[in-house]
């Protein structure tokens, strides 16, 4: 045990990083932020005999400090700037040092009544209007991979399912003593993309996202909320005379009641979207027109029961999302498989130097493959990893029922959760036959130390996620795809705050599907038939030293790879040594 602690101490010294910064709070200027040391050494597994061209191993790492400066020039105003200093390992005297401003924001309150923010905003509305859904296969992961996920989310500004946007936001609320209890408003205007040069003389238009939310607590049991969001291009800001418009309207009614032991919530949410392209400022005085217009609606009814002591909650619901429902703010994916981003770790493999197919490990460990930009079209997804709800709850062309349940023992010795859903397409794709989807996710965590009243933590967890897609009909258009992810993990606290961890992740997909290809206006142009039979694996062992919450050092070793059966790809295996020291100031 002592040897382990000595090893960690030695590692700190090797990387020569000292973290003596502490959050400093003063009356007008105060600081917080995050510091991170990261080192990874990747190596080809010795069993990879088909790749003698790539480097046997490669290492990289960096130190970075994100220093958040909060300036309060007056009581109701705060200026926030996040300054990043990043130094890659192996660079000296500033040659590999980057300094840039990562976030800037001013926020404040006018007359203690109206709040406002200008600059970098983190925005979220309903799950159908503006919502940054979690990336696939991330919901039931063990804490051992949390350092990877922390980096992925932090680097891509994924916070509480919000989209990071730049613009202006304001909110204010009223309280009433009759008719209704409260009325709150929130409005924003942002610019997800500025005008940029497409070629020598042509420029794309500014892309703006504006919206508003109104929430009213009508009485103690009834809450009404309405959301509106619109993604649109300003044609005059570019040279293109075609610009997209995508307004989405959402209305929700929440009814809740209960007693001192039980609580019931009923939610009815519905809305609709429009999307079209506007042709304006045309030559020869041709009047403005619109094209590629479609409209779609959604509807969700959810009933939730929960015990007030948080030991049990069950939700059952029905959801219908029209095939033509389009909501850029809710349907933009974190992972875009058509964006042309190659894997950061060993992007090419085999002696033919072909592009390495993305694996579960890449989804966990590679923060560079993720997306931060809203898209007005449905992005390409990989049906292997998410075929049932590729665009979250806002996935178009789905109708079905779902169930969510959470069980916790009062002692927290046993935690369990289940998510299940059974959906069907509203209309078929490429055939009149409709796909049927099944989704079952279950996770259980046993906190043995609570069971046996041990002072040191010992926990075992396991989870299983399965997706099945079926479509009947003739042999040409039929679909049968099954995917399954298994997670198992163990965490044992050997000394105070010092943990030994092990986890195993396996993903298996088998069957056939049709990959949908769309044109610039989102219309389906082709279905590419694909057959899959692959198995991903990721085995990790490591140690974690938690100095305090959000301050930890993690050292782990990963064995990962993919095997293919009856497919054109070659199998591969790689290993990784990872060290992360993360300090939230």
């Amino acid at each position: 045990m002592k040897r382990c602690l000595t090893l960690i101490l030695a590692t700190f010294i090797v990387f020569g990083t000292s973290y003596e910064l502490t959050a400093q709070i003063k009356e007008k200027v105060w600081f917080d932020g995050l510091a991170r040391s990261y080192f990874a050494r990747d190596a080809i597994d010795q069993t990879n005999t088909e790749d003698t061209v790539s480097a046997k191993n490669a290492s990289n790492g960096y130190n970075l400090l994100d220093l958040n400066t909060h300036v309060n020039p007056i009581k109701d105003i705060e200026i926030f700037a996040q300054l990043r200093i990043r130094n890659s390992f192996g660079s000296f005297f500033g040659s590999g040092t980057e300094i840039n401003v990562r976030q800037l924001r001013a926020k404040g309150t006018i007359n203690d009544k109206v709040r406002f923010s200008i600059g970098d905003l983190f925005l979220k509305q309903s799950r159908f209007t503006l919502y940054n859904y979690d990336e696939e296969l991330s919901a039931y992961e063990h804490d051992m991979l949390k350092p990877y996920r922390d980096i992925l989310h932090y680097e891509n500004f994924y916070t509480e399912n919000r989209w990071r946007l730049q613009g202006i936001q304001t909110d204010f609320s009223f309280k009433f003593d009759r008719f209704i209890r409260t009325l709150a408003f929130d409005f924003f205007v942002t610019r997800p993309r500025g005008s940029s040069a497409i070629s020598g003389n042509t420029y794309s238009s500014d892309l703006l996202l504006s919206g508003g939310t109104m929430v009213s607590e009508i009485n103690k049991r009834l809450t009404l909320s309405a959301n509106y969001v619109n993604l649109f291009e300003v044609a005059s800001s570019g040279t293109e005379n075609i610009s997209v418009r995508n307004p989405v309207y959402d209305l929700a009614l929440l009814h809740h009641f209960g007693n001192d032991k039980h609580h019931f919530t009923q939610k009815l949410e519905t809305g609709f979207s429009q999307r079209y392209w506007q042709h304006s400022e045309l030559a020869n005085e041709i009047p403005d027109s619109i094209s590629n217009q479609n409209e779609g609606m959604f509807f969700e009814l959810e009933n939730k029961y929960s015990k007030n002591d948080s030991t049990l909650s069950v939700s059952i619901g029905y959801r219908y999302v029209d095939p033509n429902f389009r909501s850029a703010g809710a349907q933009t994916r974190r992972l875009d498989y058509a964006a042309g981003k190659s894997n950061t770790i060993y992007p090419l493999y085999t002696n033919m130097s072909i592009q390495r197919p993305r694996s579960v490990f890449d989804l966990v460990a590679d923060d560079k493959i993720y997306n931060q930009d809203l898209s007005s079209n449905l992005m390409v997804f990989n049906p292997i990893y998410s075929n049932v709800l590729p665009y979250g709850d806002a996935s178009p062309n789905r109708a079905g029922v779902y169930l969510k349940a959470r069980v916790n023992q009062k002692s927290k010795a046993l935690l369990g959760k289940i998510d299940a859903g059974f959906f069907k397409e509203v209309i078929g794709q490429g055939t009149e036959e409709k796909r049927s989807f099944g989704l079952v996710k279950a996770a259980v965590k046993l906190n043995m130390h609570r069971w046996f009243n041990w002072s040191k933590e010992l926990s075992v967890s396991a989870s299983s996620e399965s997706e099945i897609t079926n479509r009947g009909g003739d042999a040409i258009s039929s679909v049968n795809l099954f995917s399954h992810q298994l997670n198992a993990a163990l965490s044992a606290e050997l000394a105070k705050r010092f943990f030994i961890q092990a986890s195993f992740k396996q993903f298996h997909a088998n069957g056939n599907e049709f990959l949908t290809e769309r044109d610039n206006y989102g219309d389906i142009t082709y279905f590419a038939s694909t057959q899959v039979n692959q198995k991903d694996h990721m085995l990790s062992v490591g140690m974690l030293y938690k100095l305090r919450e959000n301050v930890y050092a993690n050292l782990q070793y990963n064995w990962w790879g993919m095997t293919f059966t009856d497919q054109a790809y070659s199998d591969y295996k790689y290993n990784r040594l990872l060290f992360i020291l993360s300090v939230e100031l």
Partner: protein, 349 residues
């Protein structure tokens, strides 16, 4: 009552969902994309004895069970002229898939029998038919046209390096691209790039096309016998409007191509055997003197006043061995049938 209201609302809501989407399915039919290929309706021609001189066309019709890459090949049995029309669709529509008698490249079709083949990518089926051309297409319908059939235009100016050897800057009558005459440009100047040029005045002030829609077409002849690998044609077009075409009577060249004038250029390497018809958009021409701040390069076809076709080649001599492999070789860049067309290249009309 309350229960009844709820029930009505629910039924109304369910009805609303199922009226939102009217289509049978999204996207193209998978059975069409991946099913077996079938010809639903055979190949038919709208006109198998066309008179192209009278602007008649041949339309092609065929119906398939799924979209495929298809190719129609028309082959002249006498001239060996050929034309290919390709597409990706499940129906070949005779209103849009038409042939107006032109080849993809010279030689041109004449009054002859032509074979027609319709083939499909990755499929063994080939459909065949024949066309008997009653009257061949003519190629004189343009904004401006010069075919040298009446000799050198009276206002045309020919300059060539008189110190060179075997200079052929004159009208010839042996094997023209179209008609009987063409303009020979060639010879040998081992120490300099310039062999000579032909300047012709132009007046197309009534043209309404934008530079994108104005095409310059020219027939070019070379041969591969002892080919001069560094030979090329430079086409210059002048938009100088204030100077007379032939201001200086002593220099055997137009005075509209000075370095202070709005002149555009196109360089064409000539490295093939026989005649080829080349077509260029006027907008693809580049300013010849882009660094001259006094010239406004606003490219307006109305202002075109002259065209220069200059023959040049990489020189080679004992004192200037830039292209030693071409030492002692004759340059040949003969021209014929210079025609300006609107909206499409000559062979696409």
């Amino acid at each position: 009552m309350k229960r009844k209201t709820k029930l009505i609302l629910l039924v109304g809501l369910v009805g609303f969902f199922y009226t939102c989407t009217k289509e049978d399915f999204e996207g193209p039919s998978i059975n069409n994309l991946y099913g077996n290929f079938e010809i639903i309706e055979p190949l038919t021609l709208t006109n198998d004895n066309p008179n192209f001189e009278s602007n008649e066309q041949v339309g092609f019709h065929c119906k398939l069970n799924k979209p495929v890459e298809w190719k129609i090949t028309i082959h002249g049995l006498t001239t060996s002229a050929s034309r290919e029309i390709t597409g990706f669709s499940s129906q070949i529509d005779s209103n849009t898939v038409v042939w107006n008698g032109g080849p993809a490249q010279v030689p041109f079709f004449s009054e002859e029998f032509c074979s027609v083949e319709l083939s499909f990518e990755n499929e063994i089926d080939t459909l065949r038919d024949t066309i008997n051309i009653a009257s061949a297409k003519t190629y004189e319908d343009g904004i401006w046209f010069e075919d040298f059939e009446d000799g050198l235009p009276t206002e045309g100016l020919v300059y060539y390096n008189t110190d060179g050897g075997g200079m052929t800057f004159s009208v010839a009558n042996d094997g023209a691209l179209l008609g009987n005459s063409y303009f020979k440009m060639g010879g040998r100047v081992n120490w300099d790039w310039v062999l000579g040029s032909l300047d012709l005045p132009l007046n197309i002030t009534n043209v309404s096309q934008a530079p994108d829609d104005l095409f310059i077409n020219i027939g070019l002849l070379s041969d591969l016998d002892d080919l001069h690998t560094g030979q090329f044609i430079n086409i210059l077009i002048s938009e100088e409007t204030n100077t007379p075409f032939n201001d200086n009577l002593d220099n055997n060249a137009s005075d509209l191509f000075e370095s202070t004038m709005e002149v555009y250029k196109m360089k064409i390497p000539v490295d093939w055997n026989g005649w080829q018809l080349k077509s260029f958009r006027y907008s693809d021409f580049e300013p010849r003197d882009p660094n001259n701040p006094d010239i406004v390069f606003d490219m307006n076809p109305n202002n075109i006043r002259a065209i220069r076709i200059a023959c040049q080649a990489c020189p080679s001599s004992s004192g200037n061995p830039v292209c030693p492999e071409n030492f002692g070789k004759d340059v040949r860049t003969d021209i014929d049938h210079i025609i300006f067309t609107a909206n499409a290249a000559l062979l696409d009309q």
